[in-house]
């Protein structure tokens, strides 16, 4: 999963590594005032269409890696539940000048115990805050990697994914020995 706020570079990230140009699928979301409406008032249901971009990388003849870009706001949490089923992990893409946007995603993946990495997209090679500041501001556990990457660059995206996969491997191995 590639999660993050609006305009943070999710589709760019997916497109940089995918062997197909990112495809878009749409899900209809029915929100009965999730967390925002006053429950005392009659809440009309509203439906919103959420677009999700995705791409894929063929690993070998019988294995394909899918990358799903998902919106980072907490009201899209229903999609994360669905996607995190069977997922290797999540790359939480962050714009260091808008850290608040990624907080719900970080919080969610922590609770869901899904391996994740915070990947700070260095727009034009620059970060508004250094990585330690990002970690501090988001109150991210020492064990969660925080990396800088360039969403437009295939090798940079690959390396960020490899950091995530290392985490996922650690978790999977630990899960096996615990059984």
């Amino acid at each position: 999963m590639v999660a993050g706020g609006f305009g943070v570079g999710k589709t760019t990230t997916v497109g940089a590594i995918s062997e197909i140009s990112p495809l878009t699928t749409e899900a209809v979301m029915t929100s009965a005032g999730v967390g925002v409406d006053d429950p005392g008032q009659a809440t009309g249901k509203t439906t919103t269409t959420v677009a999700m971009d995705f791409g894929c990388v063929t690993i070998d003849r019988s294995l394909k890696l899918y990358l799903f870009g998902t919106p980072g706001q907490s009201r899209f949490g229903f999609m994360w539940d669905d996607l995190s089923h069977g997922a290797l992990g999540a790359l939480v893409v962050v714009d260091s000048s808008r850290l608040d946007d990624c907080y719900p995603a970080v919080d969610y993946f922590e609770r869901a115990r899904l391996p994740f990495v915070v990947a700070v997209n260095a727009f034009d090679g620059k970060l508004a805050h250094d990585l330690d500041e990002v970690r501090w501001a988001l109150a991210i556990d020492e064990r969660i990697p925080v990396v800088a990457f360039d969403a437009r660059n295939r090798i940079s995206v690959r390396d960020a994914l490899l950091v995530l996969l290392d985490r996922a491997l650690d978790d999977a191995v630990r899960g096996q020995t615990a059984q």
Binding site: D60, H85, A168, D171, Q176
Partner: protein, 107 residues
């Protein structure tokens, strides 16, 4: 309405990444040839000639994801499609190692 207004009851086996393939014996089993199906169902079946994910079907057929999942479930129940059920657990270490090796090969 293709889905007869159904919005839930989606088969939990059918996730976004789930791979789907058309059964060559599909029409034989049901007696209804693919060419007699509704256009959307024909499109989905045609897309499944090679293994394809539910997300790709949705994008290429321009159907909403929820609708796609329902229709794929219907086509599976009717014997037109094989659904390679998702694994319940998280990926195992061997699978993750294969992905790591595959990604390292990207340059």
């Amino acid at each position: 309405m293709l889905t007869s207004g159904r919005v839930d009851g989606v088969d939990p086996d059918i996730g976004l990444e789930t791979q789907v393939t058309a059964r060559s014996d599909g029409p034989l089993r049901t007696g209804v040839p693919v060419s007699s199906l509704a256009p959307e169902l024909r499109t989905i079946t045609a897309l499944c000639a090679e293994p394809i994910s539910v997300a790709e079907i949705s994008a290429r057929a321009r159907l909403h994801l929820g609708v796609t999942r329902i229709l794929v479930g219907d086509l599976r129940a009717a014997g037109y499609l094989d659904v390679h059920a998702r694994e319940a657990a998280r990926p195992d270490p061997d699978t993750i190692l294969r992905v790591i090796r595959g990604l390292r090969a990207i340059s």
